[in-house]
């Protein structure tokens, strides 16, 4: 259970506000809202906290130290009902806004808000002179004096998202990305020292933020979320803070609070001696601390690129150190270079959003500190697939590039657009009519029903595919019934194994086709059988063939002997043809076999 300062202050009574404002010397006019930021800034001020602690007696200090280091990791403390030193301590800190009493469904507790946990802990450590033994004497200067915008976590997340946008990441049974994929990405990673753990930390980060999502209900792959652009609009400070927060949310909070607090107060060239920290923490019996947890937290922080290790020493990386002080390198907009070779170079100082935009517009060649991309036919093809018009594409480059688009690259882009949009593969549903006049009538009906797309020929109309049912309904109302079945050109593709069988059907029926194809006739009403159309051989052939292709159940009418006039019905769950016999299993699971020349009629049972 942890409470943020914002939550607590929003629930505080006016009297409580006034008390804190008085002690904190923050102006407060009754009835007027006090800026939360102003109060927060005052309460987290180290000098203010030191002054507050200065007002405590040694006994009160002792109790605060015990509470902060040894009691509970979430910094919530049990209630005190009797007059005591502890009560006096809570009162002193409470008046100064550093500790609050919270009513929960299970009773009331004292708590230190999350924003105050670190500064208060630091003040306690300082008071107890605990910091010095943890700091290594070695002084190593930092190689840079600002936080680089392009740092390992940002790089790895970017690379993973760029990759997963083009090729979804396959997941193993346990829900992890396959090792072979992670290892492949490691080889493409910024620095080869990045091992699989670092990549997995970045994948975890991206999943937690919803940047990698399941594309379907199979949960077999992860794909880049389509709204990932908005993530790259965030400031570098914000992304760094997310990384730090993320670590805290899934691991031991006390150990992390302790580490972040000490790391955050080190000079630029100082390190924490992990052995020194260990000795002190074990001696002080710090709640939640043991060597395993410490190593786990440190390694996680290393994987996220927040902490660097060197022979038992650790400190913030450059990005974490300078970043928490708000000293990021300056972002340079429109800094991208498009070379006449079609190569696009994205410097590390380019805004994240620009780099992501380039990633959408060109083919990645190298995800490195300087991003290298290529404008080529493939990238233009992808853009065309996304439905982006030529001028929009060119404008995007003009907005990003500091060097414009070289004329030859521009001409190539135009030529690729022209050639790639000249021919397209289209999937369409067509209503074919035997009569052109009738086709024209259908067009009128469907235009009204907004289902008409385009006329292909005097006999053919293209209609909206997803609304077949409403097309059918509209035509039926207009007195033009149309079968629901959708034919495919050249018949439905069959398995290779089925070819011989179909040849057999075709061969058998070809000899008997003496009518116009497709023309069904009703020959007679036969005794004992409900109204059954007796079909010509061509139609039977079509029905049997389609039923077998679609693995559909089949109703067959046959005569026992060639001279018989009595027709028998059988319902087959499956059927196939061999040696000029129709074979199958009927609905009673009995085998059925009949020479083809005795089959009089057939129909698919799965059709209305």
């Amino acid at each position: 259970m942890a409470f943020s300062l914002e939550t607590i202050l929003s629930m505080l009574s006016e009297e409580g506000w006034r008390t804190i404002a008085t002690h904190a010397k923050v102006s407060y006019k009754p009835g007027k809202p006090v800026a939360f930021q102003k109060m927060k800034s005052r309460l987290t001020n180290p000098v203010y906290i030191a002054e507050a602690l200065h007002a405590l007696s040694p006994e009160e200090h002792e109790i605060l130290t015990h509470w902060m280091l040894r009691t509970r990791e979430d910094l919530t403390f049990p209630p005190i009902t009797t007059e005591s030193v502890a009560l006096a301590m809570t009162g002193k800190l409470g008046h100064r806004g550093l500790m609050y009493q919270i009513q929960t469904p299970y009773g009331w507790v004292y708590t230190v808000p999350t924003e105050l946990a670190s500064p208060l802990l630091y003040a306690v450590l300082q008071h107890n002179q605990a910091i010095t033994p943890m700091i290594a004497q070695r002084r190593t200067p930092r190689s840079v004096d600002t936080a680089p915008l392009w740092w390992s976590l940002v790089h790895n997340v970017f690379m993973i998202l760029s990759h997963a946008k083009r090729e979804p990441l396959p997941l193993a049974q346990q829900g992890y990305v396959y090792k072979r994929v992670t290892n492949k990405l490691v080889t493409k990673s910024w620095e080869h020292r990045n091992d699989a753990d670092v990549l997995e930390a970045a994948i975890y980060f991206a999943r937690r933020l919803g940047l990698l999502v399941y594309p379907d209900q199979n949960y077999r792959t992860l794909q880049t979320d389509s709204n990932v652009q908005s993530f790259w609009q965030n400031s570098p400070e914000y992304i760094l803070q997310i990384a730090k927060d993320m670590l805290v949310t899934h691991s031991s909070p006390m150990v992390q609070n302790l580490l972040w607090t000490v790391l955050g107060h080190l000079e630029a060239d100082q390190w924490i001696d992990l052995d020194g920290l260990n000795r002190w923490a074990l001696k002080e019996r710090i709640i939640g601390y043991n060597t395993y947890v410490r190593d786990y937290v440190v390694n996680e922080a290393v994987s996220l690129g927040l902490v660097e290790l060197d022979q038992g020493l650790c400190r913030y990386t450059d990005v974490a150190y300078w970043g928490q002080r708000g000293r990021f390198e300056s972002v340079e907009a429109e800094s991208i270079v498009v070379q006449p070779t079609g190569e696009v170079l994205v410097p590390p100082s380019a805004p994240y959003a620009d780099r992501w935009a380039v990633d959408n517009l060109a083919t990645p060649v190298k995800w490195d500190r300087m991003g290298v991309y290529q404008i080529d036919r493939k990238s233009v093809e992808t853009i065309i697939d996304q439905g982006i018009p030529l001028e929009t594409y060119l404008d995007s480059w003009r907005g990003l590039s500091r060097t414009g688009i070289p004329a030859n690259v521009q001409t190539n882009i135009r030529d690729w657009y022209r050639t790639l949009t000249r021919h397209r593969l289209l999937k369409a549903t067509i209503i074919h009519s035997q009569d052109a006049a009738e086709s024209s009538k259908i067009e009128q009906i469907l235009t009204k029903a907004k289902e008409f797309r385009m006329r292909l020929s005097p006999h053919d109309l293209i209609i909206s595919e997803p609304n077949l049912a409403s097309v059918q309904k509209a035509l039926e109302r207009a007195g033009i019934p149309i079968p629901a079945r959708v034919d495919t050109p050249g018949g439905v593709a069959a398995d290779a194994d089925d070819d011989a069988m179909f040849d057999e059907i075709d061969e058998f029926y070809d000899d008997r086709t003496d009518r116009n194809p497709g023309q069904a006739v009703i020959q007679a009403l036969l005794p004992g059988i409900p109204l059954v159309p007796i079909l010509d051989p061509y139609t039977i052939q079509t029905v049997v063939r389609e039923a077998m292709t679609n693995r559909s159940p089949l109703t067959v009418y046959y005569v026992e002997n060639a001279s018989d006039k009595t027709v028998t019905r059988v319902d087959l769950d499956s059927a196939y043809i061999k040696d000029r016999h129709l074979l199958g299993i009927d609905i009673n699971q009995q085998a059925f076999s009949m020479p083809l020349d005795r089959v009089r009629s057939a129909m698919r049972r799965d059709l209305p």
Partner: protein
């Protein structure tokens, strides 16, 4: 803080920003241990390779120096991978030494590291060229000197060859201050630098753009070394041009220069021959090579070293005791044998970006234009139905190109125009249409030289040439080249052809290079690849379109994309 010009990538490529104030200084710092990969307008790319590190160490630069230079100019911390690679490769060079044998019997491969000696002796490529163990090393037969160096370089442990070179027979030669044709002459600064860079090492390759005076660098090396020299060229015409230049620019007389060709077999202090003749084989032997190898040469010059044929590589392996200089404009080998050039001729000793020389006025500035010509309906149908292999030819010989050539000749009627093509049938059709002389491999040598001379004199304004004129032909006043077909996607051919028109013009004018390709065909794709090297050198191609008659158009219409949406 001011931005530094360099970014070191983790894959060992270096990106140098041209517009940065520190560019020039950084470039100078990188020259010693990196290779220039490309130098387009805004950002130049260099690469650190094992070869470049070995070269640098051989030249006296330590790995720490190299890392310091990177740190000095790099905007961001140098990746660990780069530092580690430099340290690792840097310590490899010099661990093995190739010396003259202490007992004067051949050479001796030795090292202080006996484990390393044992390791390389087991290498499959190295073992066959090692002699018996001798002291702390192995005896090496003189004829294996080159092969051993080649094998060790491939194994990743280059030998430091300190066995020295034969000094060769001495030659008294001086460069003239005024050439025979009365013009003031002196080597340009960069040519002097190239000669010095070569002479300090005794072997290696000088890379300079066409028209920048590579022949002068060769002549400078002859004068500097003052020794008998064998010059290998690509053709007899090129051989004659070398002869002419040597006579024009040095104190050497006609009788000092020999031609060793099919026509005559003269062995003189300066002898010129061709690769073709040198690699001529009779049974198991190379008679011309053997004849030339008997002479005590102090220097061997390889003109257009990127064209060195495979047999010459093998022969060169036995010439390791002579100083060797390679000259080229494009150290690109489409067959990927660049490392053989390194181990047998020597590493790249000198290189200058083309655009730098253009800015300094040493080569003409050039405009490059690609003209995409439509195929007529019947040609388009022919192209569509043809086999893959035939399509390239159909596209290359698109009859509409003739119309475009006429348009261009009309525009350049005041200029000296070279029309360069690949296919004789096409070139003959062009000849019939434009009524200009045609020069091909079939043209007799005398006629060739007459045509070249007439073109130089200006009596012939347009000359149609096949690929025989790709290299080594000096046509100073040619200022327009029209390329109508070529060898697939060959980058070096494109560069060499542009090179024909890059010699500085007497009027300071600009050169124009046209490449005519058939639109929407594989030829257009090949053109993209062909142009890469020049684009990387900073040249920009403007692209224009022509219709199926060859007449210019404003460019093809782009079909509005929205037409396709919603279906």
């Amino acid at each position: 803080m001011e931005r530094r010009p360099l970014i070191v990538q983790s894959d060992l490529s270096l990106l140098l920003e041209v517009d940065n104030p520190g560019f020039e200084e950084a470039r100078q710092a990188l020259v010693g241990f990196t290779e220039l990969v490309k130098s387009p307008e805004h950002i130049h790319t260099y690469r650190i390779t094992a070869l470049s590190i070995w070269n640098a160490v051989a030249a006296g630069l330590s790995p720490d120096d190299m890392i310091d230079r990177l740190n000095t100019y790099s905007q961001y911390p140098v990746p660990d991978t780069a530092s580690y690679f430099i340290q690792d490769q840097g310590r490899r060079f010099g661990r093995l030494q190739l010396q003259k044998s202490p007992d004067s019997d051949g050479f001796w491969l030795t090292s202080n590291d006996s484990t390393l000696l044992s390791q390389v002796s087991r290498h499959r490529a190295v073992a066959p060229v090692l002699g018996p163990a001798f002291g702390n090393g192995f005896r090496i037969r003189p004829e294996h000197r080159g092969l051993l160096k080649q094998a060790l370089a491939k194994a990743g442990w280059p030998a430091h060859d300190v066995a020295g070179y034969e000094s060769g027979l001495p030659l008294t030669v001086k460069l003239r201050d005024v050439s025979l044709n009365g013009q003031a002459f002196g080597l340009r600064d960069y040519q002097v630098d190239a000669v010095k860079a070569f002479s300090a090492a005794g072997n290696g390759v000088v890379v300079l753009p066409c028209g920048a005076g590579k022949t002068m660098v060769g002549i400078g090396a002859i004068a500097y070394e003052a020794t008998h020299t064998l010059i290998l060229t690509t053709s007899v015409a090129a051989l004659h041009q070398w002869r002419q230049e040597i006579l024009d620019k040095t104190s050497l007389k006609d009788e000092d220069i020999g031609e060793y060709s099919a026509r005559m077999k003269e062995l003189r202090p300066i002898t010129l021959t061709t690769y073709q003749l040198l690699s001529h084989r009779k049974g198991d032997s190379y008679p011309h090579f053997d004849a030339l190898n008997t002479h005590d040469w102090g220097l061997i010059l390889y003109d257009e070293v990127h064209l060195l044929p495979a047999p010459v590589f093998r022969l060169t392996a036995s010439l390791q005791s002579r100083k060797r200089m390679g000259l080229t404009a494009t150290l690109l080998r489409e067959d990927g044998r660049a490392d053989d050039v390194f181990s047998l001729i020597g590493p790249k000793r000198f290189d200058l970006p083309w655009k730098d020389l253009e800015q300094q006025g040493w080569i003409a500035s050039a405009q490059c234009r690609e003209i995409r010509v439509a195929l007529s309906d019947s040609e388009r149908e022919r192209y569509a139905l043809a086999e893959d292999a035939d399509r390239v030819r159909i596209a290359a010989e698109n009859p509409a190109k003739l119309g475009t050539i006429e348009e261009l000749l009309q525009e350049h009627r005041q200029d000296h125009v070279l029309i360069i093509g690949q296919y004789l049938s096409q070139l003959k059709r062009v000849q019939e249409r434009v009524r200009a002389p045609l020069l091909t491999g079939e043209t007799p040598l005398k006629e060739r030289e007459r045509l070249y001379q007439a073109f130089r004199d200006g009596t012939i304004p347009v000359l149609i040439v096949s690929k025989v004129a790709n290299f080594s032909i000096d046509l100073p006043d040619a200022n327009v080249a029209i390329q109508i077909s070529g060898t697939f996607g060959s980058r070096q051919e494109e560069a060499q052809r542009l090179g024909r028109i890059l010699r500085p013009k007497s009027d300071g004018g600009q050169a124009t290079f046209y490449s005519i390709v058939s639109e929407d065909t594989r030829e257009q794709d090949f053109a993209q690849k062909r142009q890469l090297f020049l684009c990387e050198q900073g040249y920009r191609y403007e692209i224009a379109h022509a219709d199926a008659t060859g007449a210019p158009t404003d460019g093809p219409q782009v079909i509005p994309f929205s037409t396709y949406k919603g279906v």
